[in-house]
Amino acid sequence: MSEATHQSAVETMTPTESVLAQMWRDLLGRPDIRSGDDFFEAGGTSLTAIKLLQRVEKRFGADVLSPDTLYEDPRLGSLARAIDGAGGRG
């Protein structure tokens, strides 16, 4: 991904994406999270995935993000769309 795409991704983050990005920064210990990033390629493991799912549930409500969804398409933007689509509380 080029710098230009990175920039625009930051600019167009949805509210859900921003909250998720903060969770990723905290869990993965890196400042540069963008909406096209893949959770596992960014350093996430099966264990950080468990923590992420728990934090998402606490923040957005139960059953808005399943482990299967996370493993199928672990990009930040996709996860945010799944949460919004499942009616996660903002």
């Binding site: 400042p31 468990i50 728990q54």
Partner: protein, 540 residues
């Protein structure tokens, strides 16, 4: 097992060293030493036929039902040629049917070999080949048969609708010295090592347990993937004690669901990998509040999580466990009754029942004094036979020693430890570059072995990044040409290694920094690449 091995090298020992080792090694406890796993299971079928053996999301099998289904499958397997010592791979998702498959294989005298469908084809085929399996039991036979095409392996379906109950127990040819299962663990030569586990090793693990109560009232959580040796404990701790296996229903763990499974299933004892234990303590500590005995192990514990656990759950409930696969899952236990002090190490404790531990120095020729650091060597009925098809590795790791006139067969763990004055052992790291990531045991050499075989790799090394307790693998490569890319290397590794062994980050470097004594300076590499995605054009 105390064995006759005339001429075993003698271990030098002082009176003080011998006294403290004798003290901690008084672990001999009566147990059904001469019974196989099958005999112990069938014993409970006779005694508690209507007790629930396994429950998963409201679905249950009683001991009688589980036994009848296993008899049916065992009859088919026997007709198909499974005999004493025949290895049969099991690739069935966590379910009552998985237990049926394991019991059925053992009833034929066979050896079950747990395999994971998530492994890449190359790994899967290598494990089947090394274990000598030409049969796989699977709940998704179609997909697997396609992947194993040409590997000389037949896939047989095991599903609720394919199982036929049979009343009569087949005569089981297996004894306590037969191989019950083979667990595979990382090997630095680039190939996973098979560790054959004896029936006696498993029976010893779950009888007369010093680390927690196990009896017919035990309701044991089963959440660990069956390819982990911890699952050996989870499954047989329930089924060989007349207790109930409470199975987590899905492949991936969700803590809110784990909470429900534990409470609805009335789980009263469990063994979590250190990594999962830490996650639960951090994110959902309430999930364990009803569990009487909370044990964890798999890698060095974290002080912070242990302290929080003891404060949350109270005294007499939290137990720190230690043990390699080669000693059938658990070797030592330490009840954590006080929050550990930051400045003092938390011990791995003392050997469990029918297990002995020696700290040895000078190539395992001298018994360490109290307080002296040495290699943790294990003895007793838990020891594996050796490594499958690797006499060289077996000879190096499994040795005979004469200790004060008694010949012991020892497993040299490669772990370092020392004895505290009270007799508890403290873990002090590794002799080599074996690491634990999320409780997966990984030889870093196995990863570099595969990296170095890529034509565009000139030199490589792998290190562990620790982000406040969350550990991940980072690889560094000096490329051999301009076309090298982290993505290319990642794909190369993903085709050969399980996902947990593929480094999350791969950095390209011009050269490696060296320490004063000429080794690759991993710490300097990690520091130089601490902010991964912004560290320059070489990094993706």
């Amino acid at each position: 097992m105390k064995t006759e091995a005339p001429g075993a090298p003698a271990v030098a020992c002082s009176e003080a060293a011998l006294a403290v080792h004798r003290e901690i090694n008084r672990t001999t406890t009566p147990y059904p030493r001469d019974s196989s796993v099958v005999e112990r299971f069938v014993h409970w079928v006779g005694r508690r036929p209507d007790a629930v053996a396994v429950v998963q999301e409201g679905r249950t099998l009683t001991y009688r039902e589980l036994n009848r289904l296993a008899n049916g499958l065992a009859r088919e397997l026997r007709d198909d040629g499974v005999r004493l010592g025949t290895p049969v791979a099991v690739c069935v998702a966590r379910s009552p049917e998985m237990l049926v498959a394991l019991v059925a294989v053992l009833k034929c005298g066979g050896t079950y070999v747990p395999v994971d469908p998530e492994w890449p084809d190359e790994r899967l085929r290598a494990v089947l080949l090394d274990a000598g399996c030409d049969r796989v039991l699977s709940d998704r036979p179609g997909a697997l048969a396609q992947r194993l095409d040409g590997a000389g392996c037949r896939v047989r379906e095991v599903a609720e609708r394919t199982l036929v109950p049979v009343d009569a127990d087949p005569e089981c040819p297996a004894g306590p010295d037969s191989v019950a299962c083979i667990n595979f663990t990382s090997g630095s030569t680039g190939r996973a090592k098979g560790v054959p586990i004896l029936h006696r090793g498993i029976v010893r693990l779950v009888h007369g347990a010093s680390y927690g109560p196990l009896d017919e009232n035990s309701r044991v959580l089963q959440v660990t993937p069956v390819t982990f040796d911890i699952a050996t404990w989870e499954i047989w701790a329930a089924l060989l004690n007349g207790g109930t296996s409470v199975m987590y229903p899905a492949e991936f763990v969700q803590l809110s669901r784990l909470d429900r499974v534990i409470k609805e299933g009335g789980v009263n004892i469990l063994l979590l990998t250190t990594a999962l234990f830490n996650s639960v303590v951090d994110e959902a500590p309430e999930a364990l509040e009803t569990v009487a005995t909370i044990t964890s192990g798999g890698e060095a514990h974290s002080h912070r999580h242990m302290a929080k656990a003891v404060r949350t759950y109270g005294r007499g409930r939290v137990v720190n466990l230690y043990g390699p696969t080669e000693c059938t899952c658990i070797a030592t236990h330490y009840p954590v009754d006080e929050p550990p002090r930051q400045d003092a190490p938390l011990p791995i404790g003392r050997p469990i029942q029918n297990t002995r531990l020696y700290l040895l120095a000078d190539d395992a020729r001298r018994l360490c004094e109290p307080g002296e650091t040495g290699e943790i060597c294990l003895a007793g009925d838990g020891l594996a036979v050796g490594y499958l098809g690797r006499p060289d590795l077996t000879e190096a790791a499994f040795v005979h020693r004469d200790i004060a006139g008694v010949t012991e067969r020892l497993y040299r763990t490669g772990d370092l430890g020392r004895l505290l004055p009270g007799g508890d052992v403290v873990f002090e790291g590794r002799r080599d570059d074996q690491v634990k990531i999320n409780s997966f045991r990984i030889e870093l050499g196995e990863i570099t072995h595969h990296l170095n075989r890529h034509p565009l790799v000139q030199q490589s090394c792998v290190a562990v990044r620790d982000n406040r307790g969350d550990k991940s693998l980072v690889a560094f490569v000096v490329p051999a040409g301009p076309d090298a890319s982290p993505d290319g290397f990642r794909q190369h590794l993903a085709a050969k290694l399980p996902r947990y062994m593929v480094p999350a980050q791969i950095h390209l470097c011009e050269r490696f920094p060296l320490t004063p004594n000429g080794k690759i300076d991993r710490r300097a590499l990690l520091t130089a690449h601490s902010s991964p995605a912004t560290s320059g054009e070489f990094t993706r």
